[in-house]
């Protein structure tokens, strides 16, 4: 058989690797993504894994996946419908058919469809032979047999052989999309440097998949996704959790404040903790506390002591931190609280993503307890959002809640590496030693921030705490007028942050028929939907909010320029509720989804069309 195949050029493609939790799909996906990135594609990725570590083999509950959307254009989302699905067993195929379209390519291991696997996955008959997949392009091959042929002389045990099926699949995918094997070979050589036998085996298996695809008649054509035109510079692929960790570390360096993280592991936020702890060489002090309360309280202690203090968590953990957040608000100390949102309430859907903690971030505390609320808008943006959250927290002496979510945190995109000298300065409002005028609650005229007086500094001994304090002098005060003053000052201090943030941007038409409003992790998909609407000739704009409390100063002005406003969010309508309270003069329409799944472009567009028709 010879290698004659048409090569079809594509602007972008979505491929998803799925299999059992132990099948190594995360690795195949990562290697594919990295290869595409080296090849010049822009991309976003998303791992989709079950809440259990190893659910029973071959069941739908145990399916783990990794999706990559790559292309020659700017890629904003990890995509919904797949062009190719690589499925290592029937359960993973079955679980992912909902992400297919007509002609989706399905690459699968025909030897994985034995009676037991079919039964566990809920198939009554073999989908590869019963005709139920006829609308797809099936590339099925006996993976294990082909692998064994390729490595017959290497004397590898059966278990190890079976474990390399993901590499065979990866090889097929590489050939299908015109990618080379260099990066994967390099990775294997590094990873298994001490086990040359394993390197050799895996290389041969990837290559076998690659060569098999070249001659397989089931493949009608091959694809080529050319490189994207990206801004010059050095890039890396980064997940939102790593980006958030790095943004915070960068803020520590820029502010010249030591970094302290007090945290307790919780999905999907744990990676931030695990990432920061790697960088003790940068002075990061990381305290894995006994619970979330100790996590935040230790951070508050560290903040009083002069550190850039952080605590990272997800919804249930944020609930536990509520009382202590109030303590940080009343003591007016800097503190960055990162909440990587997941599906709730309670334990909810730990490994799935949602935007349903906004009300908790805004209002979830006793007393009048305002703080800055921000939301990152993409995986790479987690770096800049985290950096800005720390900057605002320090310069305005107030806690900040930064909302990200499971999709952003675990998902990845390409990140143009900045030079720290180009990042904004962070100036901590430190009180000067022996300042005769020092008072704990004297305020900066512009920001209303109180001075940060670090223990150990001469001439600044003072006490703070959870009891209301007299403005200025900072002694305990139960005076009613002072209390009202302090409530007002704390709120005003947060509102004045609006003077220090960028004005709200609008994409698309700056006035028109419909303003599409969104916040947080949905930016990419909503932007794509707006791009399509614009192509179709509609007069629409997109305002994606990163600053929620306070809102940018031009928000109201923007809202006034459109006939209709729709607020899209992955909850039952929290941002829209907040906007209704803040700017009650506008009428807001809603697009909501609470399935712990991202929006699909067509769902959004259907909503827009309906509004535009009326």
């Amino acid at each position: 058989m010879s290698e004659v195949k048409n090569v079809v050029e594509l602007e972008d493609a979505v491929i998803k690797f799925v299999g059992d939790s132990g099948d190594g799909m995360q690795l195949s996906g990562t290697l594919f993504a990295d290869t595409a990135a080296y090849d010049g594609n822009d991309l976003t990725t998303f791992p989709d894994y079950p809440a259990e570590i190893r659910a029973p083999q071959n069941t739908v509950a145990g399916v783990s996946g990794f999706q990559i959307h790559f292309g020659s254009k700017k890629i904003l989302t990890f995509g919904d419908i797949c062009d190719t699905i690589v499925a290592l067993n029937p359960a993973s195929l079955r679980a992912n058919l909902k992400w297919t379209k007509k002609d989706t390519i399905i690459i699968t291991d025909s030897e994985a469809y034995d009676d037991s696997a079919l039964e566990k996955s809920g198939y009554k008959s073999n989908p590869l032979t019963d005709g139920s997949l006829k609308e797809f392009k099936i590339i099925s091959a006996p993976f294990t047999t082909l692998i064994k042929e390729a490595i017959s002389d290497l004397n590898i045990d059966n278990k190890t052989t079976l474990k390399s099926r993901n590499m065979f699949a990866l090889g097929i995918a590489f050939k299908l999309y015109g990618k080379n094997l260099d990066h994967t070979f390099h990775y294997l050589e590094k990873k298994f440097a001490t086990r040359p036998q394993i390197v050799e085996m895996n290389k041969r298996v990837v290559k076998a998949g690659f060569d098999y695809a070249a001659i397989n008649p089931q493949l009608e054509c091959l694809y080529n996704v050319p490189s994207a035109s990206m801004e010059k510079g050095r890039y890396r692929n980064i997940t939102g959790n790593v980006a958030a960790a790095w943004g915070l570390i960068a803020a520590g360096e820029k502010s010249e404040r030591p970094l302290f993280l007090g945290s307790y592991p919780i999905t999907p936020a744990t990676e931030i903790l695990m990432e920061i702890v790697k960088y003790k060489s940068l002075g990061a002090k990381v305290f894995q506390a006994e619970d979330e309360i100790a996590g935040i309280c230790s951070a508050i202690g560290a903040s009083f002591t002069g550190s850039l203090a952080l605590t990272t968590t997800s919804g249930p953990g944020l609930s536990l931190k509520s009382e202590a957040i109030g303590l940080a608000v009343i003591t007016e100390l800097p503190l960055v609280i990162v909440n990587v949102q997941r599906g709730g309430p309670s334990t909810g859907l730990p490994t799935k993503s949602e935007q349903s903690d906004l009300y908790q971030a805004l209002y979830g505390r006793n007393g009048e307890c305002p703080l800055i609320v921000m939301a990152a808008s993409s995986s790479a943006d987690c770096f800049y959002s985290a950096f800005e959250a720390a900057k605002l927290s320090i310069e305005h002496m107030t806690p900040v809640i930064l909302l990200t979510d499971g999709s952003l945190g675990n998902g990845s995109e390409l990140f143009r590496i900045p030079d720290t000298k180009d990042l904004p300065k962070i100036v901590a409002p430190l009180a000067k030693a022996n300042d005769p005028n020092y008072k704990p609650y004297n305020r900066d005229e512009k920001t209303l921030a109180r001075p940060w007086a670090i223990p150990g500094t001469e001439g600044l001994r003072h006490r703070v705490g959870g009891l209301e304090k007299e403005n200025g002098i900072g002694t305990v005060s139960m005076d009613p007028i002072n209390h009202e003053l302090m409530v007002g000052l704390r709120a005003e201090k947060v509102q004045r942050v609006a003077n220090y943030i960028d004005p709200q941007e609008v994409f698309g038409d700056t006035e028109g028929d419909l303003l599409i409003v969104s916040w947080g992790g949905t930016k990419g998909v909503i932007r794509d939907s707006v791009i399509e609407m614009k192509k179709e000739g509609y007069k629409v704009g997109h305002a994606h909010f990163k600053h929620i409390m306070p809102l940018p100063k031009n928000t109201e002005e923007i809202f006034g320029k459109y006939k209709k406003i729709i607020v899209c969010e992955l909850n039952s309508g929290q941002f829209v509720g907040y906007l209704r309270i803040t700017f009650p003069d506008f009428k807001y329409h809603q697009a909501n989804k609470v399935q712990s799944l991202p929006f699909m472009i067509h769902e959004l567009k259907d909503k827009y069309y309906k509004l535009l028709e009326k």
Binding site: A37, Y38, G40, M230, E231, K232, R234, Y235, R236, N237, W246, I249, A250, E253, P258, F260, G262, Y279, K280, S281, L282, K285, F287, A289, E290, D291, I293, A294, C297, S298, I300, G301, A302, S303, F304, T305, G306, S307, A309, E323, A324, T331, I417, P418, D419, T420, P455, G456, T457, E458, G459, L460, R461, H462, R463, V464, G465, G466, L467, V476
Partner: protein, 346 residues
Amino acid sequence: MEQILNTIERSNVELTKEDFVSDQMVKWCAGCGAHAILAAVANVFPKIGYKKENFMLVSGIGCSSRFPYYVNTYGFHGIHGRAYAIASGVKISNPKLSVWVATGDGDSMAIGGNHMIHTIRRNIDLNVILFNNMIYGLTKGQYSPTSPMGSVTKTSPQGTIEHPFNAGELVMGAQGTFFARVPDNNIKLMTEVMFESARHDGTSIIEVLQNCIIYNDKVHAPITSKDTREDNQLVLRNGEKMLFGADHKKGLRLNGTRLEVVTIGENGITEDDILVHDQYQQDPGLQLMLAKMAPPLFPVAMGVIRSAMYPTYDDMVEDQITYAKANSKILTVNDLLNSGDTFEVK
């Protein structure tokens, strides 16, 4: 007293009580045992001799937790139960501060029990003054985790039906390295014990048997009053015999695996039979038995019961950072951003 040797910067002038007097009105009830604790702290801080800016007081919530307002140091009045956690952050963040925690029996052993045991287990260098009045003072008289079984309080009109914690037992159960106990009416002993706690590297728990004159008056009287204390208190001193009683004729000895109170001169007992206190003993076996002693069969042990040397969490944090700085290639954020797999777009 000798000078404490560690990395905390010392004052280059002699300090006095006045250096730590706060301008705030002390609002505890007249006759409250907390006043004595304040007096002891005012005694001991100048003796410890660190720069006055290097003292830091942290508390939770309760009558006892108002303490930081009454001492002129850096201070943090926290939230109920969380003093240990806040103080841990302070100490880890700046190990060159002398960090003191003021906390109540409820603050430490009810709402804050989890933080207390984990702090102790980690051996973070904190000096904890545990005001044990066996009642919730600030909320006006509900029973606490140390209220004796059967205590009649506002929330236990028929008497409590819970087994109380013995603070010393809890500390040693959590692998504590320092435990001391003092009655609130012995300021001299309290001052000595506080100094010892400052000298100890690691989490030091000082249990003060504190009288709440309003809601639990005389709960400690069987141990602390003039006519009971000689027979019901054994003041332990390192290297000295465990003797007590008005004429120091009573003592403790080991009978098999158990402690026993004996009288010198009776049944052939001589001073040689009496146990000698070793607060530095690493094995807490005997110290635990001492901490658990209670009337009527035994006196209550006072003074430093345990002060064992173990590495502290905060020291090990510094060690790991020093090691990482010496051995990592990532020394700036730019190093970090450019580490691992990156690629150039030209």
